[in-house]
Symmetry: C2
């Protein structure tokens, strides 16, 4: 496992991107909308990891609900693994609950799954792997 990115929930990418560019001294290198998740994302490269800003595009988005409840801030940690489905199976067998029972498509050309924070110390964890090019 390695840390692939840290997801940060923001109200507004337009004002958050220049703020984080100032802090990190690096430019946002990609903006991508993930319609299925009702989010717009912006990525920064920080060493070997990424920071992903997430803005809700609809009130039904989990990011909208997160910000309503907790305000802006760190939303999740994503870990790169060789095979998301293998890891989900391993974790479920060891008593960890997974929100997704199998990998699904995510932003940034990845297959992803989220573990349930109630079994991971209230830390929302994403597992991800690069999609194989067909």
């Amino acid at each position: 496992m390695k840390i692939e990115h840290i997801g940060i929930a923001v109200l507004n990418l337009e004002s958050s991107i220049p703020l984080y560019e100032k802090i990190f001294q690096t430019n946002c290198y990609k903006i991508e909308e993930v319609e299925s998740e009702k989010v717009k994302t912006a990525f920064f490269k920080i060493g070997d990891c990424k920071i992903e800003l997430l803005q809700a595009t609809d009130e039904s988005s989990t990011i909208h609900k997160f910000i309503e409840k907790k305000g802006e801030g760190i939303h999740h940690i994503a870990f790169n693994v060789d095979n998301v489905n293998n890891q989900i199976n391993r974790l479920i067998k060891s008593g960890i609950e997974s929100i997704h029972q199998q990998a699904k498509e995510g932003a940034d050309n990845k297959l992803i799954a989220f573990l349930h924070p109630k079994s991971t110390g209230s830390v929302l964890m994403e597992l991800c792997q690069d999609k194989e090019i067909e």
Copy 2:
């Protein structure tokens, strides 16, 4: 800048360490008490980054207050920089508030400073550098 570690506030290291060992499939490699911060910390190596679990050792600890308000979960992101004091000066000049006006001693043989989350999108950010061996 690179991500040095992610800090996670926990109620009890004794129960959290085996949980995270199970998730990460790696053993906690160091437990360290930082008396000045009133915390006990446990470290995991995840690729080039670390996960730091933080348990309060006293009710006056910021970790105790964080958990009382928000519950267990992700507490901060720490970024490795060449020189913490230079970065604090740069950030203050560009309008970012810093909790510490100059670097101080932290866990894991580092010099550290925290930026004020009210000027960093509600994300608590730590800057750190390795202490020079004298």
